[in-house]
């Protein structure tokens, strides 16, 4: 007997990317199930920070994605709580932006010396041409933006579009909205196989609880996206890139923007497995200052590294000397989903009809989640995506 599959699409992964995919797909009228082996935000989404940055991205496909996402985060944040996803008005109250602790606080990149400032100026010039708002700030005027900054930087660039959210809340509230619009959330369920038809297209998934027949599967498995791809019989080289974050004791607002040194951009773009640190310092609504984050490829090694903490602490204190006087209350680590060219895999996999990828966002998955979700929903419903998805094709690695 032929029965209609219960869902149009199964999203594997309840991190921020899976949540955004589910949200936009549900909004587009699809019937969606989200399957995760753990709780909501139990993967990297619950182990990182929530910077939504355009400032660290050079012109190119990732920046286009970031600009689209920045706009979408702003729109989401402006949703009034009560109107957003039916009953969501109960409980904590406030609009969506308030619930996910959205803050459009802007970023500030500082250059210590004149050569660094020249490079930063050129970088910002290129970004401006691509649509980024970037305002050069002379050295002596930096203190108007950040009164506690160490003396001496040559100058900086202010990026008003940089913002932040609390990632776990963002994922949870996107999923809550999707659920109240009909999506189903299946937690504690592990996808163990992706089944295909004789013609090579997706037939469904197998989980530890049974089989789900479904014509479309979205791989939003983050750092484990390579494993999920393998279950479907295709290659996708997602690797973990470890990061540590330091969290200080709660402080009065001494850091107003997201502040980092200009070398950060070089670290982000590096392909080296070796340790890179360049502290991004930011305050949070709850008071603690976050200092993150290191980047190194050491597999899934969870052990605390004293050397990494040392470097982050040194860099943070170099930017804000007052931080030397505070206590670090805790530290945590996470594993970014890294692809060798630093671009995520987004969109239909030409090798396996019905399989869509939405993973490999490395250190920018929170920022890039809404754009990813929107683009995937466009493809799922046969509409023209807002951006050209070819730079994000999953089979780009196989070709080389």
């Amino acid at each position: 007997m032929l029965t209609r599959p219960p869902y149009d699409v199964v999203v594997v992964g309840a991190g921020v990317v899976g949540a955004a995919c589910a949200y936009y797909a549900t909004l587009a009228g699809l019937s969606v199930a989200v399957v995760d082996r753990g709780p909501v935000a139990g993967g990297t989404t619950g182990a990182g920070e929530g910077n939504l940055l355009v400032s660290d991205k050079e012109p190119g496909p990732e920046l286009d994605l970031a600009l689209l996402s920045t706009r979408l985060w702003g729109e989401l944040a402006a949703e009034p709580g009560a109107a957003f996803g039916g009953e969501a008005g109960r409980g904590t109250g406030g609009g969506f932006g308030e619930r996910i602790e959205y803050e459009a606080k802007g970023g500030l990149v500082v250059a210590s010396g004149e050569p660094g400032m020249a490079a930063l100026r050129a970088f910002a010039e290129g970004q401006r041409a691509a649509g980024v708002e970037a305002v050069e700030i002379a050295g002596e005027r930096l203190y108007e933006l950040e009164p506690h900054l160490a003396p001496g930087p040559a100058g900086g660039v202010h990026y008003p579009q940089d913002a932040q959210v609390q990632p776990a809340l963002a994922a949870a509230h996107l999923l809550r909205a999707a659920r109240s619009a009909g999506a189903e959330l299946r937690l504690g369920e592990t996808v163990t196989a992706v089944r295909t038809r004789p013609d090579g297209s997706v037939l469904g998934v197998t989980t530890d609880r049974g089989q789900i027949d479904v014509p479309a599967v979205v791989n939003a498995a983050g750092t484990w996206g390579g494993e999920l791809a393998r279950l479907a019989g295709v290659a996708l080289p997602v690797l973990p890139r470890r990061g540590f974050v330091l969290v200080t004791e709660p402080l009065p607002r001494i850091v107003r923007h997201k502040v980092y040194a200009a070398d950060y951009v070089a670290d982000v773009a590096s392909g080296s497995a070796a340790l890179q640190t360049s502290a991004v310092v930011e305050g949070t609504p709850a008071g603690p200052v976050l200092i993150g984050a290191s980047r190194e490829r050491v597999g899934f090694d969870r052990t605390l590294s004293v050397e990494v903490l040392r470097r982050l602490a040194v860099q943070a204190a170099a930017l804000f000397p007052v931080l030397a006087e505070v206590a670090v209350q805790r530290a945590y680590r996470g594993f970014r989903p890294y692809l060798p060219d630093h671009l995520p895999a987004i969109g239909a996999d030409a090798r396996l009809p019905g399989l869509y990828h939405a993973c490999g966002h490395e250190g920018a998955g929170i920022g890039l989640a809404p754009a990813t979700g929107l683009l995937i929903s466009r493809q799922l419903t046969g509409k023209q995506p807002e951006l050209d998805l070819s730079p994000f094709r999953a089979d780009r690695f196989a070709r080389s």
Partner: protein, 477 residues
């Protein structure tokens, strides 16, 4: 915390030889387990470092007034004071002979594994107050902290933990109040109540959540631990003499008062610890000492991936073999870190571990003593495991996490509407457990409310807060 320079007779100046040497054994924690281990190991020829966050040896059990308080008879508040006095004098002898370097005021925030282990300790807020101790083997004897279960009113002034009340008495000789209700579950309640009445407080009631009927299941184990029974009986006799009533199968379900606690409501409980409607009665008091047993403090080991086990009281302890080895090469554990079990067990385990580390045979009598005590501890643990329905004491507005002021309703919302299924996700979505105590206070309650019935070790990459300047500083050599 250090109180005066004289509290640190043996603290070497940073950079001194003692700190840069590689010890045969570093013991973290100078409670009964750590003390017994250090003096035994030193006696067997090992060079030892003994680190403790506090200013004096003794840990939770052998707490005693700071010398400046001029207490003449600290032993009156202690059972087993003679054993402690013996350990202390052995410690002095070994310290003087250079076999033990006793490092007070050293709080270890992380351990790095290797052929040579490195323990990073903070000594206080000053920039240079950072020490690194190197050793070929490490024994973790960091003890336990108190399990707390929230109820309406538990954050009122005058509500203290049972252990806190005991500690105030033992080390400061002060009473938390004049009329003190003692409540919760576990053998500590009797000990705390008996100390309180001995020190002159009135204890209108000792309120114990279990029925004690569980004990009957383990009669042979009980019979094999006469000392433990005698200790219990000793507390019991003291309480009887002072006319203190023990109410079993009951709990304090609310503390009343505005400025300070003025009364509590006690209710009878069913087997699952659900309050029996209509059984409530009010008891006037000016303090409440409440405790639900202890939880092993093991993050230094679990952060390195050491294997754990679930104990019968629903806590997580380090898994050790019969030689007190953890699953990590070079790391041993003894005392409460292996499961809460009292001072005698801690002493036996410390000594046993030291012998194994030194490569010496373990006397059968020592092994037998340890096994007997461990069996007893497991029995007690099973009897005092919190019943699943204790959460019915909570009202929606009861703060579960007092550091971040997160009420029960917010936690339930995170579970029911936001998809949190474990304590970690609840923490991410509500901030419960993100405050200064790092979830030590609300962890068990949050886990329970999240519906996660398998207790697991909390993640705490830093065992305690560390001044940023110390993280940033060059490593002391």
């Amino acid at each position: 915390m250090p109180t005066s320079p004289s509290d640190h007779p043996n603290r070497p100046e940073a950079g001194e030889r003692a700190v840069s040497e590689v010890y045969d054994l570093a013991v973290v924690g100078a409670g009964p387990a750590g003390l017994a281990a250090a003096v035994t190991a030193a006696g067997l020829g090992l060079r030892c470092a003994l680190l403790d966050a506090g200013p004096r040896p003794g840990g939770q059990y052998y707490r005693h007034p700071a010398p400046g308080l001029g207490a003449v008879h600290p032993e009156r508040l202690h059972h087993g004071w003679a054993a402690f006095a013996a350990l202390s004098s052995r410690l002095k002898v070994h310290t003087a002979a250079g076999r033990i370097t006793y490092l007070t005021g050293h709080q270890v925030w992380t351990a790095e594994r290797g052929e040579i282990w490195r323990l990073h300790a903070t000594l206080g807020p000053e920039v240079g107050a950072h020490a690194v101790v190197r050793a070929r083997t490490v024994l973790l004897a960091t003890g336990a902290y108190e399990r707390q279960l929230p109820f309406p009113g538990w954050t009122l002034p005058g509500v203290v933990t049972a252990g806190g009340a005991q500690a105030m008495l033992k080390s400061g000789l002060v009473l938390p109040g004049r009329r003190v209700v003692v409540a919760g579950s576990g053998p500590l309640l009797l000990a705390a109540a008996s100390s309180l009445v001995s020190a002159g407080a009135t204890v209108p009631a000792v309120v114990e959540a279990t029925s004690y009927l569980h004990y009957a299941k383990g009669l042979p184990t009980l019979a094999a631990n006469p000392a433990k029974l005698a200790e219990g009986a000793g507390h019991g006799a003291t309480l009887l003499r002072h006319g203190v009533r023990l109410r079993r199968s009951s709990a304090v379900v609310e503390a009343h008062g505005t400025e300070r606690v003025t009364a509590v409501t006690v209710a009878r409980l069913d087997r699952d610890w659900r309050p029996v409607p209509g059984s409530e009665r009010r008891i006037a008091c000016d303090a409440l000492a409440v405790g639900h047993g202890l939880l092993p403090q093991i993050e230094l080991a679990t952060e390195l991936g050491a294997r754990t086990r679930e104990t019968p009281d629903g806590s997580v302890a380090l898994a050790v073999d019969s030689g007190m080895r953890t699953s990590l090469a070079g790391l041993w554990a003894a005392g409460e870190t292996c499961g809460v079990g009292g001072a005698d067990l801690a002493l036996a385990e410390g000594e046993l571990a030291a012998r194994v580390i030194a490569g010496r045979p373990v006397p059968p009598a020592l092994r037998a003593r340890r096994e007997r005590r461990r069996a007893f501890a497991e029995l007690m643990a099973a009897a005092h495991r919190p019943g699943p329905a204790w959460t019915e004491w909570l009202r929606p507005d009861t703060d579960v996490c007092r550091c971040e002021e997160v009420p029960a309703a917010r936690i339930r919302e995170a579970v029911e509407e936001l998809g949190a299924g474990d304590a970690r996700t609840v923490k991410l979505l509500t901030r419960a457990g993100m405050g200064w105590c790092q979830g030590r206070m609300c962890g068990p309650a949050v886990a329970c409310l999240s519906g996660d019935d398998r207790p697991r070790a909390d993640s705490r990459p830093l065992a305690c807060p560390v001044p940023l300047a110390q993280l940033a500083g060059p490593e002391p050599s």
